[in-house]
């Protein structure tokens, strides 16, 4: 019965999307984390998604693929450097470093992740209904 694989597939997508929501929350939370050197500054983090490799065994090959998170990469975009000698974190030259988090981009990311999560919840619900209905076949 292949209907049960749907739960695995949608479940993997839900966990991947919730990880994406986590990184977005972390990025937004640290959008204003100031530091005095480039090495210590927070950098925006993004998860990398990849389709799960399918098993090579004949019957399984045609099945749908789940999602896996390959890893989390830090953005290499340049940090924002501000001249603010009165800031407590300012370095000797009077500069502070702001994270390279793009707040607007993160908001869009958050909405995309939550919509994808919802779509997968819907898939699980529908699959559950179909499975329950299949189990009660011929009982009416």
């Amino acid at each position: 019965m292949s209907m049960f694989k749907v739960f695995d597939i949608a479940g993997s997508a839900m966990s991947a999307q919730s990880l994406r929501l986590n990184t977005t929350a972390s990025n937004l939370a640290n959008a204003d984390s100031v530091s005095s050197s480039t090495n210590e500054t927070y950098r925006a983090r993004q998860p990398v998604f990849a389709a799960m490799l399918e098993e090579a065994s004949g019957a399984q090959r045609a099945a749908g693929a789940g999602v896996q998170v390959k890893g989390i990469v830090e953005s290499q975009a340049p940090l924002r450097q501000l001249y603010d000698p009165n800031h407590p974190m300012a370095n000797e030259e009077g500069y502070i470093f702001m994270p390279n988090v793009n707040v607007v981009e993160e908001m869009a990311n958050m909405i995309s992740a939550s919509r994808s999560y919802q779509a997968n919840v819907e898939v699980v619900n529908t699959a559950k209904q179909l499975a329950m209905r299949t189990l009660s076949l011929g009982q009416s």
Binding site: S2, M3, A51, A62, G64, A65, N120, T126, L130, L137
Partner: protein, 135 residues
């Protein structure tokens, strides 16, 4: 009087195909944000007519293993037919061809069809039971 194996006719096979399609479409929706993922779907008409040909004694369109060393291929589960790649309406720059709206609509449509097939099977069961009871 046909044998009871065939009691559900084509619906049994149709249900198998719908279940498989549910899985594929769930995979598409799950990978809506995966770079480079290509959306896939089944050609229901081709699969069902393939099944009908095989039922009638033909070989169908799936590849035949005529040697012990041949690979089973996609048709190893007896359902034949590879999933096909969807031609994208709006391809995105990361190589992903999943259109969530299209996939959602297809998923819903597929589940309605699955339920319709279950209703047919239910009806067939009811009439069989009626015939057996004789009331």
């Amino acid at each position: 009087m046909p044998s009871l194996d065939k009691a559900f006719g084509i619906h049994e096979q149709a249900m198998n195909i719908y279940a498989r399609r549910t899985e594929l479409l769930a995979g598409n929706l799950a990978n809506a944000d995966t770079p480079g993922y290509k959306a896939r779907d089944l050609d229901f008409k081709a699969l069902l007519s393939d099944y009908a040909t095989r039922e009638a004694g033909g070989t169908g369109s799936s590849m035949q293993a005529t040697h012990a060393n041949h690979f089973g291929g996609m048709g190893a589960d007896g359902m034949g037919g590879d999933p096909l790649y969807r031609s994208p309406m709006q391809p995105s720059i990361d190589g992903n061809t999943v259109d969530s709206q299209v996939e959602k609509a297809a998923f819903m449509e597929n589940s309605v069809r699955y339920q319709a097939t279950m209703n047919f099977i239910d009806g067939r069961m009811r009439s069989l039971r009626k015939a057996l009871r004789g009331d």
